[in-house]
Symmetry: C2
Subunit: 431 residues, 2 copies
């Protein structure tokens, strides 16, 4: 009776934001990020219209055609088909030589090796001599790198299928379960199969990909809308927020005081990180989902929950599923399981390959070989150990350390590249 | 066997950010918000030091004492004790008159009524005549409002206890379970009990509050650190980001074009919302937890998960647990359960009282009665219906609508107040 009279309404309960509460549903804050981005872009558009009037240009296709620095990149992108078709022909040839160590087979394998090397060297040489627009060159070099990795996976899997077929011929009493796998080697060696894989949002070749039942038109429209809005937002952010900061650099970094450099770094870090988050969403969510929907590709797990990663290794495992699965399937596992290497060496090789491609994608379009992007990637290994130490204190601290390293390392590399561009152009002006 | 040969690694899976995936753990993005706030404030501090050198002033206690406009507010805050003590004396008197409808009792109840009215009128009159600094006046008026609500709860619960005691005397065979409730009426009528409630982070009086076992020093240090850092950050944000926007207003709003007003509104909305988020954290998490820890107050649920609210009513139910519990316990339930009012009318009364206090807290310190804050609160009722319609489409849209209304309504009210201040000062200059 007393309990009803004084209407008790308090209990011993923790606050939800305390780590001890165990509460974790913050979906609403993700929506807040979306709302802030949307309102922020509305404001930028309005400000722009108020300052300059309506300046939308509908002639960009014409201007694209008329700008001569764009054409070398388009040509370069189209030329990648030569490498794909050449590799396909080699695979067809190899599928006919099911005897081990034949002379013909060695010839095809040599040509294959040559093909892989050329895929990486050709665009670099082309960009160096033709000097296209860096943005177009960057897109072309990305496509070449993706094709390189896809063909590597294609060759690896076809090689294994060929080996299995040879073993089965020698050991003919073994039966395989074909019913679950409609396409078997060598029936997969068709242009249609290869080009489906080339366009599919994955780097790992499989003879039979999981397929989604149908194409949803509303899904496609929404993804296209996202891409359009977010790319415009990125463009505005870059013009309004990042370029003005970079323009304040009027001499090499070592001629500023340490405090001034740190201040500029922090000033650059936030818009750069925002741009990176938008890029993540546009590429890994909108674009890859759009591609998958158009191709009825069933596996949409292009990223895992990297935002909750409590150390850097977890982050690299989760943030780009395609690359992670590729490295695990075609580099780490063969090294560790087949060749018997140490696990640490396997991981280091994976990081080194990843670092090489990060550097390749930056150095070639800028026509300037600098170690910054390679180092930014390789420094992740020792930093990962440091973050693990932080994580042993609390998982939240580990997650915070991951965010800090993500926010700070990129702008450091950007400032170093800009300084080098500055030196290059300075020297050019002098000579 | 084939399955091992082509190493399948794809399955039919959705992307995590798709609503269809059912994935909801975004704790990492909350940490990202913290990191961005911390890095942003570091940058502001650095920029400030680079521009002005180190200007930290350690003489603010001295300056506070010397500024004569601060003293009226301090005096006002101290005077609140008169009302608390007067109410306590009245409760003591009432506890002695356990006979219903006695003449003495009616006298005490009339005095009580007078006391409640004076608590609200006295600070308004005081601020109007003494004209203190608006910030100090705002804090004083907040304290008076909190004391008003607390005393209302205190009177309500003591009244119910007294009624129960009278009924028990008439109907003496009923037994109460005392063991679970160490303090029973009228033993709770002590200064210690009343002042514990006055300082406790709740508006709902209980004879026996849940208590936490001990004071954790590390917890207190962390909360104090948060308060210090975040209040400095708020100060910097206000100075650097919000004041420059407000200073661009050099004539009344209706003399600008609609596009210009919308642009200014959007420009103001984001820093204002950031300030509001920080204020939420400083007050509802850091300060109330600090107070609770110092008082060993067990119930730390000062806010529920309002960030996931899918309509405005859910938001108002979750965002301030103290006020929500007070309104439910002392206004809504008595109206609906005891007096038999309609539920809708109960809700409207709660919103109207809340709107009155929102207006009171703004109008009194500015010495300017305007309906904007009252209207901003009352407009929540029809807007809530609109948001429910949006929510029926998808819960995510509902949450987005809640964020948009939170982000936009505050700066609209702020701009209207500033316009009115502008008119008032303009008229003053003319005369």
């Amino acid at each position: 009776m007393t309990s009803l009279v004084d209407m008790p309404c308090h209990q011993e309960r923790p606050s939800l934001l305390s780590a001890s509460s165990g509460y974790e549903n913050y979906r609403g804050f993700l929506n807040l990020l979306y709302v802030i981005l949307a309102l922020g872009s509305c404001r930028l558009v309005l400000e722009n219209i108020l300052q300059y009037g309506l300046l939308v240009e509908f002639d960009w296709p014409l201007r694209f055609i008329q700008d001569p620095t764009n054409w070398p990149s388009v040509l370069l992108i189209l030329l990648v088909n030569c490498f794909i078709i050449f590799e396909f022909v080699l695979q067809l040839k190899l599928s006919h030589t099911l005897i081990l160590n034949s002379k013909a087979k060695n010839k095809w394998i040599c040509l294959q090796f040559l093909n892989f090397i050329t895929i990486l060297i050709f665009p670099a040489a082309y960009v160096y001599y033709r000097q296209p627009n860096p943005v177009g060159a960057f897109i072309a070099v990305c496509i070449y790198s993706i094709v390189f990795l896809k063909l590597f996976s294609y060759v690896h899997i076809n090689h294994r299928c060929r080996q299995a077929l040879i073993e089965k011929k020698n050991d003919s009493h073994e039966s395989t379960n074909v019913s679950k796998h409609p396409v078997v080697y060598p029936n997969n060696l068709t242009y249609k199969n290869l080009y489906y894989f080339m366009f599919a949002p994955t780097l790992c070749y499989e003879l039979n990909f999981p397929r989604s039942p149908r194409i949803r038109i509303r899904f496609i429209i929404r993804r296209c809308g996202e891409i359009l809005v977010l790319l415009s937002l990125q463009y505005c952010l870059g013009q309004q927020w990042i370029l003005p900061i970079l323009r304040t650099l009027d001499r090499p970094l070592n001629q500023y005081s340490a405090l001034q450099n740190i201040e500029r770094l922090l000033r650059l870090a936030l818009p750069n990180h925002l741009l990176w988050l938008i890029l993540f969403y546009v590429y890994f969510h909108s674009t890859l989902n759009l591609l998958a929907e158009l191709l009825c590709f069933g596996d949409r797990l292009f990223y895992r929950d990297w935002w909750n990663a409590t150390d850097l290794y977890e982050f690299w495992n989760r943030w780009n599923t395609s690359v992670h699965d590729f490295c695990k399937r075609h580099v780490y596992k063969p090294l560790v399981d087949h060749y018997g290497f140490n696990k640490l060496i396997g991981s280091l090789v994976v990081f080194a390959i990843s670092a090489f491609f990060h550097e390749y994608l930056i150095s070639v379009p800028l026509r300037m070989v600098r170690p910054w992007s390679f180092l930014a990637m390789m420094v992740q290994v020792p930093m990962g150990f440091a973050v693990r130490l932080v994580r042993s204190e609390s998982k939240t601290y580990g997650n915070v350390a991951v965010w800090i390293s993500l926010i700070l390392i990129q702008p450091i590399a950007i400032l170093l590249y800009i300084q080098d561009l500055f030196y290059r152009d300075f020297v050019k002006d002098k000579s």
